[in-house]
């Protein structure tokens, strides 16, 4: 078969190229330039070499923020993935229940992020919020604006409420794509419910679950808006995750150099994890 060779079509790519240059490449280059210099504004810069990178890598503040970030991401993955699968397994497969469940599940995903933060802030207020007031009247000493443990509990609860649906919807799609023949075969073999899940459903969901874990990892690793509105990184610095700490450094303290260095280190970590996940997904793809 002779394919028509028409390289002129490549010119259609130019607008995208320009767009990507202006919204990704040029800002990234500027961040690299900032990360090696000191500035007090007015477009005046002085060369500092690798000082900011060294400072960030050795700073306890960065280690603490990274530690909090990893802990947060790990905890929400540990809760959301199993919970999402469990909910997807109990959702109806046909009838009126399907659209009802799907709509209920997608509701939290449609709410703007800072609205989620504001909602949970009001919901959890210890004196007038429904959650806060109920917990306090039950005898728990709950105050998310003053106690670090409570702040973490509320942030994690909020994230679980906001994002578990995504895992549910993906798992549900994965479950629905399994052919009935597999279930019939399992029934003939007398497989238990657990065995059906372990050897049929889980392997068949592997692809969507990798995707779900990747999406949830990325979103939670870069989380900013919701904890910013809910706790503002407080009490103290206890819920200041990487993005919140970064913004404090860049805009609060106007330390553009160290903030640029920190964002590059942050970017490299994200890039590395994405690459690992991408390869895992490609491996799954190749196997199936």
């Amino acid at each position: 078969m002779n394919k028509t060779i028409n390289q002129k079509a490549w010119y259609f790519v130019i607008p995208v190229f320009v767009l990507v240059a202006f919204n990704a490449a040029i800002p990234l280059m500027t961040v690299v330039n900032y990360s090696f210099q000191e500035t007090f504004g007015n477009n005046v810069f002085a060369w500092e070499g690798t000082r900011w990178f060294k400072q960030i890598l050795l700073s306890e503040r960065f280690h603490a923020a990274l530690g909090r970030q990893i802990a947060f991401t790990f905890i929400i993955l540990l809760i959301q993935i199993p919970l999402g699968i469990a909910i997807a397994l109990t959702m109806p497969k046909k009838g009126l229940g399907v659209p009802v469940c799907l709509i209920l599940m997608s509701m939290p995903l449609l709410i703007p992020w800072n609205v989620v933060g504001a909602m949970w802030n009001i919901f959890a207020l210890p004196d007038i919020g429904f959650l806060g007031h109920t917990l306090n009247s039950m005898g728990f000493d709950y105050n998310f604006t003053q106690q670090p443990g409570d702040a973490w509990f509320t942030t994690i609860l909020m994230d679980v409420w906001h994002w578990t649906s995504l895992v549910v919807l993906l798992s549900y799609a994965g479950l629905n794509s399994i052919q009935p023949a597999y279930y019939q075969a399992a029934e003939i073999d007398g497989a238990s419910r657990w065995a059906t899940f372990r050897y049929i459903e889980l392997p068949k969901m592997k692809k969507v679950l990798t995707l779900a874990i990747l999406l949830r990892f990325m979103d939670s690793f870069m989380i900013y808006t919701e904890p910013f509105v809910l706790t503002g990184g407080g009490p103290g610095n206890t819920t200041a995750f990487l993005s919140i700490d970064l913004v404090k450094m860049a805009l609060g303290q106007f330390d553009l150099g160290p903030a640029a260095a920190m964002s590059l280190i942050y970017f490299f970590i994200v890039l590395l994890v994405c690459w690992v996940f991408y390869n895992l997904m490609m491996k799954n793809e190749a196997k199936s």
Partner: protein, 118 residues
């Protein structure tokens, strides 16, 4: 007019306003370029150009399964090399702190290993 008062980009000229019109907008002082960072980006651009020429001469990207058990092409290997180099430099800065060019030499070795075996 926008951007009429820009400031020169050296310490000696701090605070001395220069009259500039809209079309005099200086991309390079705005992006705070230095020759060091410019060299870095020219290096990246060169890498991509070399990859393009290599691909023209030997199309297909020479896919293979390397020692990591990954299916990689030339582009993947470049990506692994560059990202790895970033981490090698960061690790060197964090653990050793000075004489950064030794890390750069390690990176060259790392590049060669990745392009040969990964």
């Amino acid at each position: 007019m926008m951007f009429t008062k820009l400031y020169a980009a050296t310490w000696g000229d701090v605070g001395k306003a220069k009259e500039k019109g809209f079309f005099d907008f200086d991309l390079f002082s705005w992006m705070a370029w230095t020759w060091q960072t410019a060299t870095f980006f020219i290096f990246i651009a060169l890498c991509i150009t070399v990859m393009l020429i290599w691909e023209k001469k030997d199309p297909g990207g020479s896919p293979r399964k390397g020692i990591l058990g990954l299916d990689t092409t030339r582009g993947d290997r470049l990506f692994i090399s560059l990202l790895g180099s970033a981490f090698i430099h960061l690790a060197w800065l964090g653990l050793v702190g000075s004489v950064l060019w030794i890390a750069s030499i390690i990176c060259v070795a790392y590049f060669i290993v990745v392009f040969k075996y990964v």
